[in-house]
């Protein structure tokens, strides 16, 4: 409601679109070419460039996009198609793949470990997305409202600079039941230690905590950038109306941040679904499959048991799942609209 009344404020934040400017300048110098082209193919001609000019640019354009297209074809398209093909085969690397039709899919739907892994993954995603977003948001707002120190902003980002494997190794030591500092403190305070990574109930929450710690700074920085796009006059108006700091956070900051928050949530969801390295380093899916996330299960099937056909089927399932989740999220959250305009 406050937002709509800020109409004129938005003008400086959204400069006149680039397309408009080019149209104006381009139309003048090239009237002749436009005349010829538009007579033949009016539907395909654009108001900005003549078709002849476009044709002259074509070889150069092809040369320029060739590396990108080749890279895409070799490193994305071909592996994807091959992966889809392998998911219908029985493939153990050392002998050529054998077509088995839907057998792998049948096996997958009846595979307890797969369904369990899916649940474990969803549990991990839920924990790391909810806590990750919440903690990053609060951190970013505190940074924005309280401090102007760029040193502090840099410090927040530090965990993000460490590689996942190192972070996991260090945390594994800190959480170690007999040597770790966390358990030493716990033992001192409560008399008991907790098997953070060694017990079924604690494994996933511990892993989610490591992941949140690792990524918090990065997402906080993204949200922080979003906060800086909110004009300070909005807060001034809020203060004039007598709104408290928490009210302004709930009524102004969060709604105006929605596009950024949506992006952060989408990123954390994708990121969390792909969790693998910290699991591989710390628990390797154990104990008793308690942290056997889908990626870990796929890895074990492919690179430990060399059942590449079935592993490809599992990957395809994960792929389908991720596409669905991302699409639904973007639809539900109307990410391409901003409340600022």
């Amino acid at each position: 409601m406050v937002v709509t009344s800020q109409g004129k404020l938005t003008t400086p934040t959204t400069p006149p679109s680039a397309a408009v400017t080019t149209t104006a300048t381009d139309l003048g110098p090239t009237p002749h070419a436009r005349k010829v082209r538009s007579a033949r193919k009016p539907g395909r001609s654009t108001p900005t460039r003549s078709a002849a000019a476009r044709r002259r640019d074509l070889p150069a354009a092809l040369v320029l996009i060739l590396p990108a297209v080749a890279g895409f074809a070799v490193f994305f398209a071909y592996p994807t198609l091959r992966g889809i093909y392998l998911s219908f085969t029985d493939f153990h690397v050392l002998t050529p793949p054998q077509w088995v039709g839907l057998a792998n899919f049948q096996q997958m739907f009846g595979d307890d470990v797969f369904w369990h892994s899916l649940l474990v993954t969803v549990y991990f995603v839920a924990l790391s997305v909810s806590f990750g977003t919440l903690i990053s948001l609060v951190t970013a707002v505190v940074l924005h409202r309280v401090t102007r120190s760029s040193l502090l902003r840099g410090v927040i980002l530090l965990p993000f600079l460490i590689s996942n494997v190192i972070a996991a190794l260090v945390w594994q030591w800190m959480l170690d039941p007999s040597l770790g500092i966390v358990n030493s403190v716990l033992k001192h305070l409560t008399g008991h230690s907790i098997l953070f990574l060694g017990s079924g109930g604690w494994a996933i929450p511990s892993l989610a905590a490591i992941s949140v710690w690792k990524w918090m700074g990065y997402y906080a920085l993204l949200i922080f950038a979003g906060l800086q796009t909110i004009p300070s006059t909005i807060y001034e108006a809020g203060r004039v109306d007598g709104a408290s700091e928490t009210q302004m956070f709930r009524r102004l900051t969060v709604p105006l941040l929605r596009p950024i928050l949506v992006m952060v949530v989408v990123l954390t969801v994708i990121n969390s679904f792909q969790v693998f390295d910290i699991v591989q380093v710390t628990t390797r899916g154990g104990p008793a499959n308690a942290s056997n996330v889908l990626q870990m299960y796929i890895y074990d099937k492919a690179f430990r048991q060399f059942d590449f056909g079935y592993a490809a089927t599992l990957s395809l399932a994960l792929f389908a799942l991720l596409i669905t989740v991302t699409f639904t999220q973007l639809r539900l959250a109307r990410a391409n609209e901003s409340d600022l305009t």
Partner: protein, 453 residues
């Protein structure tokens, strides 16, 4: 903007291609160059890699122009690396292999059958006392020469034993049964001490503050139980598979096995042995005993030399206990094999090296370190003698061999899948998340996976 992205992609693509070129150049570096030939041999054991260097030097002297390159990779990556090598065509000419992966590699034609070489050289397989049959595949061909054999023993802290009022002969003559644990069970309870100095069989023992456990990590995820439950339950006549070679099912649902598991779980429930997961995987058997966390434990024969060398601690070695009948001991022995890769460019040279490694000359020299027990009896005697002078008494294990206590480990297919399916079930049982229904589940899982050869 578009152009900049394009340029960036080109640069990235170029960088990737260069990287790929560099990598492939690296991997080709070890192949033969000119007149001299390089023979690659891989192992997962760092100590054996060092031990076999002696043989490599002698072999190089006897075969001028040949270089033997011994490479060791950690066991966690070893088989992945090996398979990647098969696919990429740069696997080692010969390598150490475990029976767990024998079927997978043999059935996919990655191993060279040795029968032709054996008959051509009149190589006498009877020189090996153990392990030859473990490397015979379902097609009846011999695919490897056995490299070693292994057994399980009881290692104990001699001071802790004396303080508990036991003598050496008490450990040597222990008995065990699945109902109350026999004299082993009593010793375990008595040797457990809590932080106030109370023993496990005394009043007021506090099981949640244990200083020293009477027994090591028997509640483990290992699905063969080689160094944990296998030497116990085997004394009842129980065996893992329904057949010793290529079994169709593992007998986890057998009442004797189930009773044994109950007894093991009761140890951790009473605080006499560490719970599963209490110590992380990086804590070894040797660490547990030498740090005083554990007073006694069962562990592999390959650790004897390491145990004896622990500074400031006297470690005694005893045989595994007698079974319920008071006179049967049974210990599983597995033999790793020396395979030749089917894709090797120098099969004759590889056989020369493998057969040399399987000779008394090499085995006697390499095994002096005590890190493995050679399959050739004469070499074993030589190695035991050499180690005895260094204070390592292996008589417990050599007696097992002489008294036919040892029986060969089953050869089975689909090892990695079995391991991945069964270990979580053992973990769940020992963590108390699953009850006795788990044993039926294990049995049916094993049947299902063993059938998938």
């Amino acid at each position: 903007m578009k152009r900049i992205t394009g340029v960036r992609k080109t640069v990235a693509l170029g960088a990737t291609l260069t990287l790929a070129a560099v990598l492939s150049a690296c991997s080709n570096g070890s192949s033969s160059a000119g007149g001299s030939k390089t023979l690659n041999w891989w192992t997962w054991d760092d100590k054996q890699a060092a031990a076999y260097k002696v043989c490599a030097t002698d072999f190089e002297k006897a075969n001028p122009g040949v270089t033997v390159k011994i490479t060791q990779y950690n066991v966690a990556d070893y088989f992945t690396k090996l398979t990647a090598g098969f696919v990429a065509g740069n696997a080692p000419d010969a390598f150490q292999n475990s029976v767990q992966y024998f079927q997978a590699y043999a059935s996919q034609h990655q191993l060279l059958p040795l029968d032709d070489f054996i008959s051509k050289d009149k190589f006498d397989l009877s020189r090996f006392s153990v392990g030859v049959n473990a490397w015979k595949f379902t097609d009846g061909k011999q695919y490897a020469l056995p490299l070693d054999w292994a057994a399980t023993g009881i290692y104990y802290n001699e001071d802790a034993l004396k303080k508990a009022g036991y003598a050496e002969k008490d450990v040597d003559s222990m008995t065990w049964n699945p109902d109350d644990g026999g004299t082993l069970g009593k010793m375990i309870a008595h040797m457990t001490i809590d932080d106030k100095g109370r023993r496990g069989d005394e009043k007021g023992f506090d099981k949640s503050h244990v200083k020293t456990y009477g027994y090591g990590e028997v509640a483990a995820k290992d699905f063969i139980g080689q160094t944990t439950w296998s030497p116990l339950v085997d004394t009842t006549g129980w065996r893992l598979g329904d057949k010793s070679s290529w079994p169709t099912v593992f007998n986890y649902d057998d009442p004797q096995f189930v009773k044994t598991m109950h007894w093991i779980r009761s140890l951790t429930d009473k605080g006499f042995a560490p719970r599963i997961g209490q110590f992380t995987d990086s804590v070894s058997d040797v660490d547990l005993l030498s740090s005083g966390k554990v007073a006694m434990e069962s562990a592999g024969s390959w650790e004897a030399a390491t145990f004896v060398k622990v500074p400031g601690l006297k470690v005694g070695i005893a045989p595994t206990p007698y079974g319920p009948d008071g006179k049967t001991r049974a210990v599983l022995s597995n033999s790793n094999g020396n395979n030749i890769w089917a894709g090797t460019k120098n099969p004759d040279l590889a056989w020369k090296w493998v057969s040399y490694m399987g000779s008394e000359a090499c085995q006697s020299k390499a095994s002096q370190t005590g890190t493995f027990f050679p399959s050739i009896p004469a070499s074993m005697d030589a190695s035991a003698k050499a180690l005895a002078t260094k204070g390592v008494d292996l008589s417990v294990f050599t007696d097992m061999m002489k008294n036919k206590v040892l029986y060969p480990s089953p050869v089975y297919g689909n090892g990695a899948a079995l391991q991945d399916a069964l270990e979580p079930l053992f973990q769940a049982y020992f963590a108390g998340q699953k009850g006795d229904s788990v044993f039926t589940e294990m049995q049916s899982k094993s049947k299902q996976l063993l059938a998938k050869n």
